[in-house]
């Protein structure tokens, strides 16, 4: 593949290629639909570039292999889908506690339980609230195009290294399967903090320990506050979002990922009928771009949150607006992908109801 | 003739498990009358019996015993 070119690429392959070009040395994963194309792509590609691909015996084993590789100081990634991500929560909690960098791809499917293999956004809480045990947070990117899937996967390795944290890419079955033209490019070199914590044998240096056990309660509290300061820094520096036609919008639809693609189509439709509607799309769902949402309340009086779930991100929106505007919700859980027409009808209904 | 040796016991490390006493072939170690800071009666060396076989040190979980040979 050339250094920079536009090619048609499937979401799963874009994730894999971005990881390879981001310098991912190790991929560990366990097959689960709808993300099997990621381990399949990596099994071929990592071999080509002489790096490590290993199919673990479970999601639990895979995330712990990632932990070992991260502690050894290399860039490592795993991928899975909802039930598999549940199994990885133990490892995510340990990665957060030990402050180890790693990239976790989460191709969300319908749930709870085995659910189905259709696109869903039912794992927003799990992704944005840590999911595993203990007082931690984790940056979560929610791409809405294959280009973003590529770009954010690549960038997430840097974010992981800068903050020494696991980073999640939250996609859904649609994002994984979609084929779009994208520009594949190399990673831009940036200054990263030195990896002075890694374990590679205590050769001419004092021995090091990587651990999460802190029995002393005062020390544990201090560690929790240290992590909190790091999360506060992320809250300041990491939030990202896209605004589409919000300048004069009386009603703003708020959606992320696949739902945002559908919502954008709906906004274009209702705009052609003269309705002043815009789209706000969180790109990072943790940290949630709450300040940007809050400042939207100055010009728009009605927010409509649309999710492919029974309503999870809507909580974050309501927290951000603190009751300043009406915050309505429309959801289609279970793997249903509504059409832009359906969403535009919902928008029109609220437009009438709210007498905009 | 067997080698002659001696041992030192760090009595503050000793937890009084008595393994050294059990495995010493020369009965060269016994429990002391006094207590250490942990509050246990530590092992003590009864001088001039040792043949530096190291069995006490091999079994001592606390690495409290060092062995010397002539």
């Amino acid at each position: 593949m050339n250094k920079r070119e536009t090619i048609l690429m499937k979401g799963a392959d874009a994730i894999g290629e971005a990881a390879v070009r981001a310098g991912c040395s190790c991929y560990f994963g366990y097959p689960i639909t709808p993300q099997n194309e990621i381990p399949e792509y990596m099994s071929r590609r990592m071999d080509e570039v002489g790096r490590v691909f290993l199919q673990g015996e479970s999601e639990i084993a895979s995330i712990n292999m990632v932990l070992g590789a991260a502690a050894a100081g290399v860039r490592a990634m795993t991928s899975s889908s909802s039930p598999g991500i549940s199994l990885k929560q133990e490892g995510l909690s340990f990665l957060a506690a030990m402050e180890l960098p790693a990239v976790i791809i989460n191709i969300n499917r319908g749930g709870p339980g085995l659910g189905n293999i259709a696109p869903s956004q039912g794992d927003y809480y799990q992704a944005t609230r840590g999911g595993g045990h203990g007082d931690y947070r984790m940056p979560v990117y929610a791409p809405a195009t294959i280009q973003e899937l590529y770009d954010f996967t690549m960038e997430s390795f840097d974010v992981a290294d800068i903050y020494r944290t696991p980073v999640m890419i939250l996609g859904d079955g649609m994002m994984g399967q979609l084929v779009e033209p994208i520009i594949v490019h190399e990673r831009e070199e940036i200054d990263l903090p030195p990896k002075d914590y890694i374990l590679n044998g205590a050769q001419e240096r004092p021995s090091r320990i990587i651990k999460s056990l802190i029995l002393d309660t005062r020390e544990m509290e201090e560690h929790n506050w240290k992590l909190k300061r790091k999360y506060d820094l992320m809250r300041t520096l990491l939030p990202r979002y896209e605004e589409f036609m919000t300048d004069d919008a009386k009603l703003v639809i708020i959606a992320y990922g696949t739902a945002a693609r559908i919502a954008k189509g709906a906004v274009k439709r209702v705009r052609s009928n003269g309705l002043k509607v815009g789209l706000f799309r969180p790109i990072t769902v943790w940290p949630f771009p709450d300040e940007a949402v809050l400042s939207l309340t100055k010009k728009s009086k009605v927010f409509l949150v649309f999710e492919m779930s029974t309503g999870q991100m809507v909580d974050d929106v309501r927290l951000a607006v603190s009751g300043r505007v009406d915050c309505e919700f429309y959801g289609r859980p279970g793997g249903i992908i509504p059409s832009p027409q359906e969403i535009s009808r919902i928008i029109e209904r609220y437009w009438m109801q709210k007498e905009l | 003739m067997a080698a002659k040796g001696t041992i030192t016991i760090d009595q503050e490390l000793c937890k009084g498990c008595e393994l050294c006493i059990t495995f010493c072939p020369e009965d060269a170690i016994r429990i002391a009358d006094g207590l250490n800071a942990r509050g246990v009666h530590p092992a003590e060396y009864v001088k001039q019996h040792c043949r530096a076989c190291t069995l006490c040190a091999v079994m001592c979980p606390e690495i409290a015993i060092e062995v010397y040979r002539e």
């Binding site: 084993a61 070992g68 590789a69 050769q203 320990i209 | 937890k15 498990c17």
Partner: protein, 250 residues
Amino acid sequence: MKKIFSRPECLKPTPFHYCPGCGHSILHRLVAEVIDEMNLRGRIIGIPPAGCAVLAYDYFDIDMCEAAHGRGCAVATGFKRSRPECIIFTYQGDGDMAAIGTAETLHAANRGENITSIFVNNAVYGMTGGQMAPTTILGQKTTTSPFGRRSNVEGYPLKITEIISTLPGAAYVARTSLATPAKVMATKKTIKKAFETQLAGLGYSLVEVLSPCPTNWKISSIESFKYLEERLELEYPLGVMKEVTTEKGS
């Protein structure tokens, strides 16, 4: 007078927190002696378990990375695959190795993962206070098998070392005991052999070490060493179960 026995260099001068007569303390020293003698300190990484030995990193003066309960062999795999030049060992108890971590252990062994596991079998859960282990022997009383382990209720003791010895990826599999000075010294030789197996790139190596837990067996240190030899060794026979000496092709 020449000093012929003292603390190994790669153990910090920290007193062990283990109970009087605990096998972990003896085994820590043996592992440290082997690391010193093989001059591995600059390239070895240890993975301590969840359990009494979780604090092993307070004692070993080598690089160490904690693993979640049972995940030692998966974490070790991540290390070894990304740093093949390093020597990687897990230090695991019976629950870690043969209950919660059975899948990680068996699959690492079956892949022929070039790592070493030191498996401490004392047939009881130590840190949590004496509950039944997968290796608790029939009739043995623990706080969760108060009537003695019954095969029809609690099932049979799991001989994971025997199972692993049947796997093609396993290169060196042995069981030793800490019951007597001779067996302690044999254990050290066995650990050395396991590290040599890894250095030669032959595949997975496992040393199961039968070890006393006087506190949770609720007997004295001296009695626990007798129980180890008279009861535990009967259930878990000592010896080398598998030894591969030449590298297999792919």
